[in-house]
Symmetry: C2
Subunit: 244 residues, 2 copies
């Protein structure tokens, strides 16, 4: 049966998931559009499907047809998608392979790009400081192009998480705009963790004593720094030696 | 004297520069904030400075103090900057060094990121297809972090511009998500031009016969493709062999 009223209880609950507070409270988040929904379905994290037409009705999941007005209320885009999925948050798995550590990344587009590039270069685990932008922000999910569903992540104190990595024999690589070894000269360890710093301030200096190495990407003196997502992606590309 | 009226003729003229049509007609564009203004001043392209306070009054350029309401009208940001500069468009210079060719890049953030990374890796010339997003779009300028002022660019028919490069003995490298030589195996020519394709469709197939080589960035099968700005930046990084 089609939901017609914008004041329907279900609609109210879904709509609240646009706020971090309610995503945390319910352990759920919203995704929009066919591409993201397909990626989420592959990983079995979709709980409910909501659409303005019947295309997705035949899936085995609870399905709700809604009006355009309701979709507009649920959507975060200027032109709402025809389908929205309600997903359960990702579960944390055992850490393996190379790791990315994010220190206070603030721009959701950057976080999404970093996730997309990490998965592209076989880095499946990202550890985030508590002050990093929310992983389930719709802009993060969109910029990740669905790669978020392949991600293993933890959010917490970087000091504690880095100490844990060191106990597992990971080598920790810090980054700096000017200081450190040129990326072109670095030979990464088989268990490497790279720290990417905040967009404006770079990596917190207090993390430096925890690093085994400090890395810089060599750039022209005309340019102060690279975009954080770009810098992370170039380092991931260099860390990945299996693919040719 | 402070401009108080939002209907002032100067204000109307400045405000129109938010549209591409008027930027093209007047050969001018708007920039916002101290950082961009400083970068533009280094290159001598600023014509007028407009501010809500007197900080910039002592420059040798025509200066206009305006009200917060006027600044809000001129600004493209939710929280307007305190200063805006009116700049003249960049002049095209002789092509030298490595070159980037953009085929129908649509996202202004991607174009800005590509400009920022190009300058970082000593690629000063970008050639753009006519259907690429406007270089003077405020989001492009912002994402370029002011690197736009170091740029030499041409906009036109890619066929013609590529033919001209070939006459100058440039080697043309096309890009594809799946086909071509792995970037890790490519040794770039000393005069190289790299083509970056549209975000959704990739490089136009009609350009393939013009390419001396086709390149792909090796990525995991879990991921369809990289972000266009990221892909471009990784290739620029590999093309740049002078800096260590």
């Amino acid at each position: 049966m089609k939901i017609e009223s914008i004041n329907n209880d279900k609609v109210k609950t879904w709509s609240k998931l646009k706020e971090k507070k309610y995503r945390d409270l319910n352990n759920m988040f919203i995704i929009e559009g066919d591409h993201l929904l397909n990626e989420a379905l592959k990983k079995g994290v979709v709980l409910e499907i909501i659409s303005t037409d019947k295309t997705w009705e035949s899936s085995n999941l609870p399905f709700y047809e809604v009006t355009d007005a309701i979709m507009k209320k649920l959507s975060s885009q200027i032109t709402p998608s025809k389908v929205i999925g309600i997903c359960k948050k990702l579960e944390t798995k055992e850490i393996s392979g190379n790791v990315c550590i994010l220190d206070n990344i603030q721009d959701p587009g950057n976080l999404g790009t970093i996730i997309r590039s990490a998965i592209a270069f076989n880095i499946n685990t990202i550890l985030m400081s508590n002050d990093t932008v929310d992983l389930y922000n719709e802009k993060v999910i969109r910029a990740s192009e669905g790669m978020i569903f392949n991600l293993n992540y933890q959010k917490g104190s970087l000091n504690e998480m880095i100490t844990e990595l060191k106990n597992k024999n990971y080598k920790i690589y810090g980054t700096d705009v000017n200081k450190g070894k040129s990326l072109k000269e670095v030979v990464f360890d088989s268990k490497s963790a790279i720290i990417i710093g905040n967009e404006g301030k770079g990596m917190n200096e207090q993390l430096q004593p925890l690093c085994d190495n400090l890395i810089r990407i060599p750039i022209s003196s005309n340019c102060e720094s690279l975009n954080a997502g770009v810098a992370a992606s170039i380092i991931f590309y260099e860390m990945e030696r299996i693919n040719i």
